[in-house]
Symmetry: C3
Subunit: 362 residues, 3 copies
C-alpha cells in the first residue's frame, strides 16, 4: 500500500542535467541519467533520486536501485551519478515539489458556499462548498477558502493564502500573503482572561485581534487567541505545528518554529529564528531572545528572560550544559544518597575512634 | 495595524464621573474628564483609561497621553484624575465591556441551517447557516448556534448560551444558561474505555453524557468525554482554556479554572475554586480539594488526594514549599555530587591516617 | 440529572440466565433474577447488574439495591446471585453494549451533502447533511460519513467505519474496516518539515499519505500527519485518545493504546500492544518495542530504542525501577544536601583534630 502512494511520482521524467540546473548544482557522472521520481533514503525506489549527507551510507545506497544522489560538495566520487549542491536537503525539497506539485483548487466560488454581499474577493479566489465568508471580509487574489472554513466579519486575507477545512477565523483576524492554515485551527477566539470578584470569575472582554503576517504556516488544531487589547501577532515566516496553543497578546518573531503541542502563555514575546521543541511551554510575560532553542518539554517559568542564541531545556528551564550535568547527577541520585548514608557512618566511626584516641582509650 | 484594531473603541465618549458611577468608584480630580476608550498599560493611548495597581508605575504613566487611571484606594494622589475602586481590574473589565460590546447575532434561524422538526427552539434563538440541530433538541431563548455547530439528538441547551462554529455536542449533552463554547470543541465523544480480551482491546460502551452547568466558558478545541455510565460534569462558573482534555466521569467543581492544555484522566474529582496552571495533569481517580492551586505542568499521579487550599507543583506533584527546596537542591545536584566524591576521598584519607596513628606509625 | 441519562437503560429486561449465556458465564444463585440495566459500582442502581473483582467490596454491595454481580471464578458465595466469568469486566462491557445499543444512522445520502459524481459508495452508506465526499473517493458498505466530515479526493474508506462530524481526511487517506474517527480529528495534513535556507524555513513538500488499518478507534481533535514520502501508518486495532499528535512517517503497531495528549515525533516506530500513558511523548526516530508501557508524561529523547516488554517513565525516560529509586532520592534531595553540608563540617573538624593530634597538640 505504501507503494500505492508513490503513483503520484511517475508521470514525469527528467535528466540529471535538467534537475541540476533547477537547483544550481553540478553533475558528477552521466548527466543524461533519467530520473522518474524523488524519494528518501528509507524508500530507495528504482530510478529515483534522493539526497545524502552522510558519506558512510554511500556504499549501501550505491547497491540500491536508486538512480543518483544529491550530495554536499565534499562527496565527490560515487558509482552512481551525483548532483553536488551547497544545501542538498534544500535541493531535494525543491525537486520533490517539482515532481509532486501541490493540490490545485477550482478558482471558483461554489454556489453551495455562503458569501456575504459586502465581502470583497480578488481574482481567482476559490471558495469551496459550505465555506462561509462574513460581512466586510476582504480576500485577495488566488487565495483558497476550503469547505467549512468560517471567515468571520471584518477579516482580511492576503494573496495566495490557503485556509483549510474547519478553520475558524474569528472577526477582525488579519492574515497575510502565502499563509497556510491547516484544518481545525481556531484563530482569534477569546483569550483566557478573568478577574475574580470574590465569588466568581468575571470575564475580561477580549477586544483585540490576531494578526498573521506573510508566509506563515499553521498546522492542524492550533489555537491562537485574540489579544485582550491590541493584537496577538505571528510574524513573517513563522511555522507552527499541530495542537499548539498561543495565548492572548503573544508575539512570535519572524521565522521561528514551534513544534507540536507547544504552549505559550499570555503576553510572552518570542524573538526571531527561535526553535521550540515539542511540547515546550512558556509561562506568561516571558521574553525569549532571537535564535534561542528550547528543547522538547521545556517549561519556562513566568517572566523569564532568555538571552539570544542560548539553548535551554528542562523544567524549570535552564541552559543546556547545566541541565546535562544535573540530569547526569540526578540519574545517579539514588547511588549518591546511598553513598552519603555510608559516608555518614564512616564519619561517625572516625569521630568515635578519634575521641577514644584522645581520651587515651585503646 | 495594531491601531487598526482599536477603531472599535472610539465611537463612545463618557466622563470619568459617569464611569465611576457604573463601577461604584470614587473620582479623585476632574470628574468631567472625557474618556474615549479603555486600554491597558502596554498601550497607553490618548484619552483612554486604564487600571493601575502598582504605585511604582504611576510616575511613568502620568507622563503618557492616558486620560485617567482606575486605582486601588491606597493610591490617592496623581497628576491625572483617578477612579478609586475596591477591585480596579474588575472595574476596568466592566468598562472595557461597555466600550467594546460583544458581537451580536441575527436572532434568526437561517434557512441554510438544518433543524429537525422535533427540535424546540425558544424566542430569539439564532441558528447560523450550515448549523445542524438534531431530533428532540431543546434550545432556550436567546441562545446562539453558530455555523457548523452540530447539536446532536436529545441535547438540551439553556438560555443565553453561545455555541461557536465547529463545536460538536454529541447526543444527550446538557448545557446550562449563559454558557459559551468556543470553536472546535467536542463535548460528549466516547470516553477512552477498553478491556483487553487477551488479543485485542474490546470497547467499553460509553453510555453516559456530559452535563455543563450555568455560566461555564469553554475554550477552543477542548475535548470533554461522555461518562461510561452517568455524567461527566462541569459545574457552575467553571472556566476552561483551549486544548484541555477532560476524560469520562470527571467532575470539575464550581468556579474552578483550567488553563490551556490541562489533562484530566477518568473519574477524577476536582473541587470548587481550584486553579490548574497550563498543562497540569491528573491521573485517574484523583481527588483535588477546594481552592487547591496546581502549578503549570504539574503531574498528579492516579488516586492522589490533595487537601483543600494547598498549592502543589511538579511531577510527581508535591506541596510547593517542598518542591521549591527540592528544585533548589536539584539545581545544585551536580555540585553536590562532586562534593560527595571529594568528601569520600577525605574520609578515606582520615581513615588511613587514624589507622596509622593507632598502629603507632608516624 | 445524572439519573436522566439512565433512561436509556430501562427498555429491556433479561434474566440472569439469559445474560450468563451471552457471555459464557455460570450462574450462582437464582438464574431467574430479572436485570433491567447494567451499571457501575459508583452507581448501584436498583435491579441493575455490575461487575466486581475486589472481594472486599462484596459486603458493601450486597447491601445495595443492585440485582446481581458479574464476578471472577474465585468469588463463589454471595447474598446476591452471581455470574462467574473468566474476565468479568469484558462480560460487563458486552452486556452494557446489549442494553445500550450504539447510535444508529439513516443509511441514506442526504441531499444536503455534497458528493462528487466520481465517488463510489457501497450499500447502506450514510452521508449526513453538509458532509463532503470528494472526487474518486470510495466508501464501502455500511459506513457513516457524518455532517461536516470532509473526505478529500482519492480517499478510500472500508466497511462499517464511522467518520464523526468535523473530521478532515486529506487527499489519499486510506481507512480500513470498522474504524471510528471522532469529531474534529485531522488525518493527513502536512508533516512539519522544513529546510533552513539561510534566511527562512523552506517547506519540504509532504507527498505521502496516512493509512489507518482495521478496527482502529481515534478520539476527538487528534492530528495525524501524512508522510513526507510513503505512509504514516496506524496498524490494526490501535486505540487513540483525544488530542494526540502523530507526526509524519510514524508507525504505530497493532493493538497499541495511546492516551490523551500523547505526542509522537517524526519517523518513530511503535511496536504492538504498547501502552502510552497520558501526555507521554517521543522524540523523532525512536523505536519502542512490543508490549512496552510508557508512564504518563514520559519524555523519550530522539533515537531512543526501548526493548520489548519494558516499563519506562520520566523525562528523560528510564526504566520504572530506576526512576522509582531516583524519584525517591530526589524527594529527599534537600535533606541529602543539608546532610552533605553537615558531613563536610564534621570532616573538617576531624581533619583539624587529627592534624592537631599528630602535631602533639592537646
Amino acid at each position: 500500500m505504501r507503494a500505492g502512494s508513490l503513483e503520484w511520482y511517475f508521470d514525469m521524467k527528467k535528466t540529471l542535467e535538467e534537475l541540476a540546473q533547477i537547483v544550481g548544482g553540478k553533475v558528477v557522472g552521466d548527466g543524461k541519467t533519467a530520473v522518474s521520481g524523488i524519494t528518501s533514503i528509507e524508500f530507495p525506489q528504482e530510478n529515483c533520486l534522493t539526497y545524502l549527507t552522510d558519506p558512510k551510507r554511500l556504499d549501501e545506497l550505491e547497491r540500491s536501485p536508486l538512480a543518483a544522489f544529491i550530495v554536499p560538495k565534499d562527496i565527490q566520487i560515487s558509482k552512481k551519478p551525483l548532483i553536488q549542491c551547497e544545501n542538498p536537503k534544500l535541493a531535494w525539497a525543491i525537486l520533490l515539489g517539482l515532481f509532486v506539485p501541490p493540490q490545485t483548487y477550482s478558482k471558483q466560488i461554489s454556489n453551495q458556499a455562503s458569501v456575504a454581499k459586502s465581502a470583497k474577493l480578488g481574482k481567482e479566489v476559490t471558495v469551496e462548498p459550505f465555506a462561509l465568508v462574513g460581512e466586510n471580509v476582504t480576500i485577495a487574489s488566488s487565495s483558497v477558502i476550503r469547505a467549512y472554513a468560517y471567515i468571520d466579519e471584518g477579516c482580511q486575507i492576503g494573496e495566495g493564502t490557503i485556509i483549510h477545512p474547519h478553520a475558524m477565523l474569528y472577526a477582525k483576524t488579519q492574515v497575510g500573503n502565502r499563509v497556510t492554515i491547516h484544518a481545525g485551527s481556531v484563530i482569534g477566539s477569546d483569550g483566557f482572561g478573568y478577574v475574580f470578584d470574590g465569588k466568581k470569575q468575571a470575564k475580561v472582554p477580549q477586544t483585540g485581534n490576531v494578526v498573521i503576517e506573510d508566509d506563515v504556516e499553521i498546522g492542524a488544531c492550533v489555537t491562537i487567541d485574540r489579544a485582550t487589547i491590541g493584537s496577538t501577532r505571528i510574524r513573517q515566516g513563522v511555522k507552527i505545528d499541530n495542537l499548539v496553543q498561543i495565548a492572548h497578546n503573544v508575539e512570535v518573531g519572524s521565522h521561528s518554529c514551534l513544534s507540536a503541542q507547544v504552549g505559550i502563555s499570555g503576553s510572552s514575546k518570542i524573538g526571531s529564528y527561535v526553535v521550540m521543541g515539542g511540547r515546550a511551554g512558556l509561562g506568561d510575560y516571558c521574553e525569549i531572545g532571537d535564535e534561542v532553542t528550547l528543547g522538547a518539554q521545556t517549561g519556562v517559568p513566568s517572566k523569564k528572560v532568555i538571552p539570544p542564541k542560548q539553548v535551554w531545556i528542562g523544567t524549570p528551564a535552564r541552559p543546556y550544559e547545566e541541565m546535562r550535568k544535573q540530569v547526569s547527577a540526578q540519574l545517579r541520585s539514588y547511588e549518591t544518597q546511598q553513598l552519603v548514608s555510608e559516608l555518614k557512618k564512616r564519619i561517625e566511626k572516625l569521630e568515635k575512634e578519634l575521641s577514644d584516641l584522645k581520651a587515651g582509650k585503646p
